[in-house]
Structures are given as C-alpha cells and as structure tokens.
C-alpha cells in the first residue's frame, strides 16, 4: 500500500490541533487538496502481544488502557466476551448500571470530540463551554466508579459498586444539567452563521463512499447508514433504542449526530434509573476454555473483541478491532479529497473523531 506521493503539505505529528501524533500528507494545488495520505504508528504499544498468555484479571486492565477516552466500552466488551465463554448470568441491576456508566462515558467522549472540532474551527467560546460541561459528566462518572478515566467498574458477573439512592439523585441532577446546558450550546452551534460557513458542505462523505470505506459509528450515521451495534445488545434492546441518523454527510452532520447522541444517552440513563430495581450487583461462574466474539458500540463506532481462553482462565489469543481505523480511512480517502483550504483539512480530520491510541494499540 505504501506509495510515494509528491508531498507538498505535511501536517503533524506534533500539531496544535492534534491531540495525538499522526501525520497527514496532502498533495495540493494551491490549497485545493488533490490527494491525501496518513502516516500512523507513533503510539504503537503492542497491547495484544502483551495480553497473550496472561490471566483475564490482568487482561481486563490492559483492555481498559487500549484507549483512555473510551475506556469503559473496552472494559465492557472484553468482560462481556469473557462472560459469553463462561456463560455467566448477569443480574438485572448490574446490566442497567453497565449501561449507565457506558452512556456517561459516551457523553464525555462526544463532548470532547465536539470540543476538539469547535477548537479547530477556532470557536473557542463554544469549545470552552463544552469542555466545562464535560466536567459534569466526569464528576458523575467519578462519583459512581471512583475514578475519572480508567475506572475498571465492570467486572465479570456484574459491576464493582452499587448505586445508592443519593448517587441516583446526583446522577439525575447531572443528566438534567447536561441536557439543559447542551440545549443552549446546540442552539449556538446551529444558529451560528460562521460555524455553518466552516462546517456545512465541507468534507462530504456520501453513503456509497461510507459503505466502500466501511465507516462506522457517528461518521457512518452522519452519511445515512442506520447502523448502531447497541441495537444488538440485550440490555439496550430492553430500553427501546433507535439510532440517530443524518443524511448530509458533511462536518456539520457529524457534529450534530454527536450532539443528538448525547441527548439520547441522557434519556437512556434516565430510563435505566427508572427501571432499575434493588437487587444483587454481582453474580459469578468459572472461566472455562473457549472462544468468543463480542461486538459493542464504542463512542466512535463498532468495537470487536475476539477472545480465546484456556481452562485456567488465561487469554491465549486475542484480536481487537477498533472503530477509528475505518473512519480515518474514510476521512483520508474520501472526505479530504476536494477540500478547498488547508484549515479545512484539520477540521475535517477532527470531525471524524479519530482516536490514534485506539487504533494502533
């Protein structure tokens, strides 16, 4: 795949708008982007190689550290894969608590992604508002799980801590605050004429191109593909979940999908709190030899874990497929082509919410 191009505009690896190192090489005429290529590999750690041969108790923490932004979903998908092997029954309360923590994680990840986008198009006011709003979600996450980022809340058979009534009240207030504040910010975003000029009809990914590039998550849903792995998840099915879909496929649609998903997540958290009944939060069973494949919807899209264990509970083989790599491909090969200015290259790239740490592992 390696191809020599006439590079005239390299961006990165250390760049003011990039949170993580990667290099985009654009072939340009003037500022019109003719072609683009991405160079990855700056944060390759070899996590899957470290995981092999280790007991699941260790792999659980390693899985969480695949990605720091969406650590809860990595933990959840790995643990649910292990539960599939061991045929562990999950208590009802624990299933709802998992959804609550996962949705809180999604809220903070989406807010962070939209913050990055607003910061990239230099609307710093909105960016700072969003970053402050994220702290509300982080506080709720910390109150429930005990840590801000790597919380290891989900464990085989259930969750680590129960939710007290006081915590539930706090959580309801937190999601109400998020809803109320975000309504204001979304109004700012949709009515801002300069934001529209920087966002609408820039970086278009059509439905066919999204299918061709196997785009997933909000990037695909902004291009009209109504696919969300939460539709196949047993707990989410009970919560009457339906994905948010936009058809424009431009930067604006991708940001709006994330904003709408935050509202949807707060609604899911409320539904969980309403339906949750007191009970045990942890069951159990023995880990046996077996193979499983489990898919979950990370904030960035479909996340797959393929796990093989032996009879002692050691993970002998593991394969992880993270969503960002497909979205980055879609971004570089379809969205960036035909972008009119160098400033839009970075904003288009950020709008696809790439997570380099995830996809290099």
């Amino acid at each position: 795949m390696k191809r020599t191009v006439d590079v005239s505009l390299p961006i990165g690896p250390v760049h003011p708008v990039f949170k993580e190192p990667c290099r985009i090489k654009c072939e340009t005429r003037g500022e019109y982007v003719l072609n683009a290529e991405i160079e990855l590999g700056y944060v390759k750690k070899g996590i899957e190689r470290i995981m092999r041969g280790r007991p699941w108790q260790e792999v659980m923490f390693l899985a969480e550290r695949v990605c720091g932004i969406c650590s809860v979903i990595h933990n959840m998908v790995f643990i649910e894969g292990m539960e599939l092997i061991a045929e562990t029954a999950l208590p009802d309360r624990a299933a709802y608590l998992r959804v609550i923590v996962n949705e809180l994680d999604r809220i903070q990840s989406h807010v962070l992604a939209n913050y990055s986008y607003c910061y990239t198009i230099e609307h710093e006011t909105l960016a700072m508002y969003l970053l402050n709003l994220r702290e509300t979600a982080m506080d709720a996450l910390e109150r429930i799980t005990g840590a801000r980022v790597t919380c290891a809340y989900i464990i085989p058979g259930g969750v680590r801590f129960d939710l007290s009534d006081a915590d539930a009240r706090y959580l309801r207030e937190a999601v109400d605050t998020i809803d109320r504040e975000l309504n204001r910010f979304v109004h700012m975003f949709t009515t801002g004429s300069l934001i529209a000029l920087r966002s609408k009809e820039i970086g278009i990914l059509t439905r066919d191109e999204a299918i061709e590039a196997h785009a997933v998550g909000p990037t695909a849903r902004a291009s009209g593909i109504a696919h969300d792995c939460r539709l196949d998840h047993p707990t989410y099915r009970r919560l009457d979940f339906s994905p948010v879909v936009y058809t424009e496929g431009d930067n604006y649609a991708r940001i709006m999908v994330r904003f709408d998903e935050i509202f949807q997540s707060t609604e899911l958290i409320r539904r969980c709190l309403d339906r949750m009944e007191p009970g045990i939060i942890r069951g159990g069973s023995e880990v046996i030899a077996g193979t499983s494949r489990w898919v979950g919807e990370a904030p960035r899209g479909e996340l797959t874990y393929q796990i093989t264990t032996d009879e002692f509970g050691r993970v002998t083989d593991i394969g992880i497929r993270t969503p960002s790599i497909m979205n980055i491909e879609a971004c570089v090969h379809y969205m960036l082509i035909g972008v009119l200015s160098a400033a839009d290259v970075t904003s288009t790239y950020i709008s696809s919410d790439p997570c380099i740490a995830c996809n290099e592992r």
Partner: protein, 151 residues
C-alpha cells in the same frame, strides 16, 4: 540580587508556555491535560498557555512510554524548544512503563533515558489539579536568574 532581577523572575514565572507530546500513551493522560484547559481548572489564570508549539514552549509535557517511532523524533523536538526549558513526565508510563512494561511490548521506558526530565507526576492518569500544581511548582524555577545563554 538586584530588585530588577527579582522583578524579572516574578514576571517570567507568570508567563509559561506549554507544549505536549504523546510518545505512546493510551490518551488517558492527554485528556487530563485537556481538562486543565477547562474553565473549572483554568490553567490560563496562572499565566500558563497551552500552545502545543515546540518553538515557543518552555515546558514540554510528555505522556506515554517511549515508542520506537519517536527514537529520532523526540530528541529533535527537544532541541527545537528554546532555552530555558524543562520536560515533565505525566503519568506512570514515562516513569516506568506502567502496564505496558511487559514482555512483548514495543515500548522502551523510562523516557528519562532519552531526554532530561525535570519532574514526574505518577498516576494512571494523574488528576488535572496535580498536573497544574507541578507546572506551578516548576514555574519560578525555570527562568530563575536566566540571562540568555550565560548559564
């Protein structure tokens, strides 16, 4: 020590420019650095500006254990930063490699083997307040009595 020098030291400690680089982290520490920008922690009220531009930085925040791609690049980045400068290692990864310092890993921790590190903040990840506190502790020291290359 002259009054002028004291004045210079005080003023310079209120003007710190920060650049951060991820040399193989999981992103956890990076988002905690970003959280420092939030109005709640408000790193800018102390006169610390996060530019992420090595050419005007005074403090380089390093997250992550050391991945092979950075072997030639991190030293180059360090040399681009004008004197006086300090590097701060954030999180367990640059200090010891954290969970990644195992058999099979591609990483090469600690980062202090590669460039000089002035301070280390343990934690996986450390809280934003700890990051701000460390930069503030270093701020009066970086420029103390600095007279353009005479040191």
């Amino acid at each position: 020590m002259s009054i002028l020098q004291d004045l210079k030291n005080t003023v310079r400690s209120k003007s710190i420019h920060v650049c951060y680089v991820n040399v193989g982290s999981c992103n956890g520490c990076d988002i905690e650095i970003l959280a420092c920008l939030a109005p709640r922690y408000d790193i800018e009220q102390y006169g610390i500006y996060v530019h992420n531009n090595p050419r005007e930085a005074d403090v380089l925040l390093i997250t992550g254990a050391f991945s092979p791609q950075w072997e030639d690049k991190l030293m180059g980045l360090w040399e681009k930063i004008p004197e006086p400068k300090v590097a701060v290692a954030i999180g367990n990864c640059p200090i010891s490699g954290c969970v990644f310092n195992r058999e099979g890993s591609y990483l090469d921790p600690p980062v202090r083997k590669h460039i000089p590190i002035a301070a280390e903040i343990p934690g996986c990840p450390p809280r934003p307040t700890e990051i701000i506190q460390t930069i503030l502790t270093l701020a009066p020291v970086i420029f103390r009595d600095y007279e353009g290359g005479a040191s």
